[in-house]
């Protein structure tokens, strides 16, 4: 159709939801107010392990405005939620007296006003039987799960190759726990009405929230409708159905009124996931000429007591470089901590720091430019399967990046570059992002007024889904942007996967592509025997669309408008559904490629005071087809900022005695602010991916990994200090 020479797609169209958002008119779930709505406050555990022996709600129940107090004594029993491709749903809350982590919900108060609910929540007294919590990743008391994702891999003989290798580098790398901290506080508004449930939620996945709530509360999915029209950021924290969502639904059913629950910032640290910390050991073996002969990557990460978290770390190293002998192992240590979950580039963000730091260290052992070392081991084919990549322009990423950054100006000697008092360091890292794609559905309609309405249950978490899908729909139907409405964020719409794993744009784009093609087919079917139509007897391969018309490929005049067809046949509209499913790599003979990127970073270090600044980051990204250059660039900029935060600032601090998160607010948990960010240069390279009709690869996450490693590598170049633990802070940089 028209994707070979797109007109609307690719352009830097402003986001269509922008005006609503800046005017404060975009209704986030926390903005939803319903008549008769009550408010919910949560009581959280102040110990990390043990049992609740007494829960006194009497005083709370007597307070003004209080409608109900729910605890494990009186809360309804719930079924467990479904397993998804991210693992099982977190266990339903208030089902027993066990305390698994500090901050676990122990009671829910429903009151007329938010402040009444808060006051009553404080009046609930809890007594515990304490157990010794297991809190540290090194603690042998914590159970270890081996190969928790079934993704451990081995090819060749890495141990033998390491033993025989001319050069070996071995080191341990540590990454801190990070908390997603979207700006928008998560909120759930729940309303039961005649056995039907309506929920407004901050979720990245309405279809799953619908299915989960239906299963937990024992009602058919058709009786549950989940809205998420606008989500104030999530970074992965909205991928699962967290206990507070369940509690809001439970509270609404109990009091028979709509209720609203808005998490506080401290509650956002314990209730909606976080990036688990890791300890990773890397062993690299190489020949003197720089060829990798062995990679061994073992990663230990944390997981909560009764939960699972899909976070493959080490496995990312299996496909990053051409190397015949590779072993990767993942393990998880169970701790009394709040449930970890996905945070932008889950697993990859930690793994890339270790692998790309280790590669930098190896380059010094080999006395080789770190960029040359990466190019020397470039994976021309997918190294696990030996199949050609569906697309890969990582070499171009390195080349363009080196040029834009000025890598050739790098003096290889450590500490040789200065800017006044500051030591200057240059660092590089490569990123081979995973490919992830799942089933998705969309529906497209064209009506008598000539406009189109396309929709899917997907979510736009601030990434630009509304905008790019409107562009794509307009392109595929030959309409102007303002003739198309794209809607999402409603589980009653066709099923969509999560906005996660950098997979939504691909899955949804291909579903929209299929729906639009089906819709054109439906128009052609309508006129197949219509002697009045110049399109009579045409198949989709005979035609194309532009200016609101379907016409012959060869002759633009030979055709007619959607409106004319509908009018002549007395139809108000035509609608068609489209689905997309991931292709089978073996069938097509290609290894599906995710996005690739190269990161070049300049750091300045004041070695006397330990100050570290990052004045410049150059990112070059192969993201396949870019649907909207401006929004894609924004994704890379935002992810780079997140990467800088991971590298030099962000650390969720757990008190070692109590398991309390000691910095659960935005004053003490440091995210990068404007003053931390210098020049961020973003360039896209590469071609549309061959595997799918639209050819996108997803750019939501690829901008984050690589940042921390490139910064650590640059710090080493500047100072000679090799920091193998994130974040890199002043105390580690003091000479």
């Amino acid at each position: 159709m028209t994707m070979t020479r797109p007109v609307i797609v690719g352009a830097g169209v402003d986001r269509v939801d922008g005006p609503l958002k800046v005017a404060g008119a975009a209704p986030y779930s926390s903005d939803i107010d319903l008549p008769g709505m009550a408010h919910v406050a949560l009581v959280r555990s102040t110990i990390a392990a043990g049992r609740v022996t007494r829960l006194d709600t009497g005083a709370a129940e007597q307070l003004p405005g209080v409608l109900a107090v729910l605890t494990h004594h009186n809360a309804p029993r719930l079924a467990t939620g479904p397993a998804t491709n991210l693992g099982p749903t977190p266990p339903p809350p208030l089902q027993d007296d066990r305390v698994r982590h500090h901050g676990q919900y122990l009671a829910v108060v429903v009151a007329e006003k938010p402040y009444q609910a808060s006051a009553a929540a404080r009046a609930v007294t809890v007594e515990y039987e304490r157990e010794e919590p297991v809190l540290r990743i090194e603690d042998p008391a914590g159970e270890v799960r081996t190969d928790p994702f079934g993704m451990d891999s081995a090819r060749g003989d890495s141990a033998g190759a390491l033993a025989a290798a001319e050069v070996v580098h071995e080191a341990t790398y540590v990454t801190a726990e990070n908390t997603n901290n979207p700006l928008g506080l998560f909120a759930t508004v729940a309303q039961w009405s005649g056995g039907r449930l309506t929920v407004h939620d901050a979720t990245q996945w309405t279809s799953n929230t619908c299915q989960t709530l239906a299963q937990m509360f024992g009602v058919p999915e058709s009786a549950v409708r989940v809205h998420a029209k606008y989500v104030g950021g999530a970074f992965g924290s909205g991928l699962r159905v967290w206990p507070h969502v369940v509690l809001a639904v439970m509270a609404a059913r109990t009091v028979g009124r709509p209720v609203k629950l808005v998490l506080s910032r401290p509650e956002m640290f314990t209730g909606v996931g976080h990036r688990p910390n890791t300890v990773q050991s890397l062993r690299l073996g190489a020949a003197r000429d720089g060829r990798l002969v062995a990679i061994e990557h073992e990663a230990l990460q944390t997981v909560a007591m009764d939960d699972e978290n899909m976070e493959p770390v080490a496995s990312a190293s299996a496909s990053a470089y051409a190397c015949p002998n590779v072993t990767t192992r993942d393990r998880q240590r169970r701790l009394n901590i709040p449930c970890p979950g996905s945070m932008r580039a889950p697993g990859e963000a930690q793994a890339n720091f270790a692998l790309e730091s280790a590669l930098d260290e190896l380059s010094y052992l080999l006395d080789m430019d770190p960029l040359d070392l990466r190019l020397r081991n470039y994976a021309e084919v997918q190294p696990q399967f030996g199949l050609p990549w569906s697309s890969k322009a990582l070499r171009e990423c390195y080349q363009v990046g080196a040029e834009r950054f000025g890598w050739s100006r790098r003096d290889r000697r450590i500490g040789a570059m200065r800017d006044g008092r500051w030591l200057v360091g240059y660092g590089v890292a490569g990123v081979s992002y995973l490919w992830w794609q799942v089933h998705c559905e969309a529906r497209a309609t064209v009506g008598r007024d000539g406009t189109a309405y396309v929709r899917s249950a997907a979510t736009d978490i601030g990434t630009g889904t509304y905008t790019v899908m409107r562009q794509l729909s307009a392109e595929l139907l030959g309409l102007e942007l303002d003739q198309v409405r794209f809607d999402l964020g409603d589980s009653d719409m066709p099923w969509s996967p999560q906005a996660g794993g950098s997979g939504l744009t691909g899955a949804l784009g291909n579903a929209v592509h299929a729906a639009c093609r089906e819709l054109i087919r439906a128009f052609l079917r309508t006129v197949v025997n219509d002697s009045a139509s110049p399109l009579r007897g045409c198949t989709i391969d005979d035609v194309t669309v532009s200016g609101g018309r379907i016409h012959h490929r060869a002759d633009g005049k030979l055709g007619e408008s959607f409106v004319a067809i509908l009018a002549r046949h007395g139809l108000d509209e035509l609608t068609a559904d489209g689905v997309s499913d991931p292709p089978d790599p073996q069938e097509v003979g290609l290894a599906p490629a995710g996005a690739f990127a190269a990161k070049f970073v300049e750091v300045h270090v004041d070695p006397e005071l330990g100050l570290l600044r990052v004045p410049r980051v150059v990112s070059v990204v192969d993201g396949g087809r870019i649907l909207n250059e401006k929004l894609a660039r924004s994704q890379i900029i935002g992810a780079t900022v997140g990467g800088i935060g991971q590298a030099i600032l962000e650390e969720t601090v757990t008190d070692p005695r109590t398991g309390r998160i000691a910095n659960a607010n935005l004053g003490d948990y440091l995210v990068a602010v404007n003053a931390d960010i210098g020049e961020i240069d973003v360039t896209f390279v590469g071609e549309p991916d061959r595997l799918t009709p639209v050819g996108t690869k997803g750019v939501g996450e690829v901008g984050l990994p690589g940042t921390a490693a490139a910064i650590a590598n640059a710090v080493h170049h500047a100072t000679g200090k090799r920091i193998r633990s994130l974040p890199i802070t002043i105390d580690e940089l003091l000479d």
Partner: protein, 333 residues
């Protein structure tokens, strides 16, 4: 949000306000509220039964003569930062104000409130932590064995409390021998800022010499000689909007290569805004060289109280002192 019901009263008159709060142990003054409202509504640490809003009292404004700058307690941080005398004669006060808070906060926060700000200690600010001597005497100190201990004090600290006084503004003020004007039920007093704060000792809950009901009405800042150079150096991981790991406010007068007057305050290290008198003694009369600065820094940081998380801070403080002094007095850093 955790709200306990309280009565709100707006005061129109200084005397009446002081009388009202003095007579009621459960009453508190409210001015800019930038710390207090957090502690009341978000953290649930402060639970006044009556809040007396003093923002309408005539305690706002700045006047200067040749020797003294007088600042009303309700003057905002932003107003003080914008004052021409501050910019011209007290550049390190201006620098500390700008480094101390965002514009939004500076527009709300008052000078009197800044003096009386509470510690940011993560253990003090969470009422679910039972062991906090500052909140409840004789319960212990969870922070000493806690994690993430970088933002704790190393001077004036001890086993009972390591909570930091996190003000930036007070660091140059304490170096300048600022005087605090206080109105109490028995009349007005003038208290040197160097004697205003109390080390934690056995009673970390007692932070100043003020009695309940005393109202800070203003401060008087002696203006340094015209030849004095001053600077404020704040060291932190985040480039802005973070409290100091170490900060140094220094004012030096150097004549013919000799330090004739030195004023030095330290932030990020003390349980109170720290006047570095030991360092000043070594500096005064000594050659303006890095050797002198280092000796002064060593003297001031001779006996720090550290926990594992703050073990790096004494050396960082020494280096920050040397850097701040070298930037003012030369002598090659």
């Amino acid at each position: 949000m955790t709200v306990r019901a309280f009565e709100y009263v707006r005061a129109d008159d200084v005397g009446a306000a002081v009388a009202m709060v003095s007579a009621d142990p459960a009453a508190q003054y409210l001015a800019g509220g930038t710390t207090q409202v957090d502690l009341m509504l978000k953290d649930g640490i402060l639970e006044p039964e009556r809040v007396v809003d003093i923002t309408r009292l005539p305690l706002r404004g700045i006047t200067a003569d040749d020797r003294t700058l007088r600042v009303g307690a309700l003057t905002t941080m932003e107003e003080l930062a914008a004052d021409p005398t501050v910019a011209g004669r007290l550049p390190f006060v201006r620098a500390a104000l700008l480094a101390g808070a965002s514009t939004q906060l500076r527009n709300m926060a008052t000078i009197g409130g800044n003096l009386l700000q509470r510690t940011r200690c993560r253990y003090f600010r969470d009422p679910t932590v039972p062991d906090c001597n500052k909140r409840t005497p004789s319960t212990g100190c969870a922070a000493i064995t806690g994690a993430g201990a970088r933002m704790h004090a190393i001077l004036g600290a001890g086993e009972t409390c390591i909570a930091l006084h996190a003000s930036d503004l007070c660091v140059p003020l304490v170096a300048l021998d600022t005087v605090v004007r206080v109105r109490g039920i028995e009349g007005e007093r003038r208290i040197p800022l160097t004697e205003f704060y109390v080390l934690p000792g056995d009673r970390p809950d007692i932070e100043t010499v003020l009695r309940h009901g005393d109202l800070v009405t203003g401060i008087e800042i002696p203006l340094p000689p015209a030849a004095t150079r001053s600077g404020y150096l704040k060291v932190r991981d985040r480039a802005s909007y973070e409290f100091a790991l170490v900060s140094v406010a220094a004012a030096l007068t150097v004549q013919g290569g000799t330090v004739t007057e030195a004023r030095l305050g330290l932030g990020g290290v003390g349980t109170i805004p720290w006047r570095a008198r030991a360092a000043e003694q070594i500096l005064t009369g000594a050659p303006a060289t890095v050797q002198t600065y280092r000796a002064a820094a060593e003297a001031e940081l001779r006996d720090p109280f550290t926990v594992p998380g703050t073990a790096f801070k004494p050396e960082l403080a020494r280096r920050t002192i040397v850097r701040a002094l070298a930037e003012l007095g030369g002598g090659e850093a």
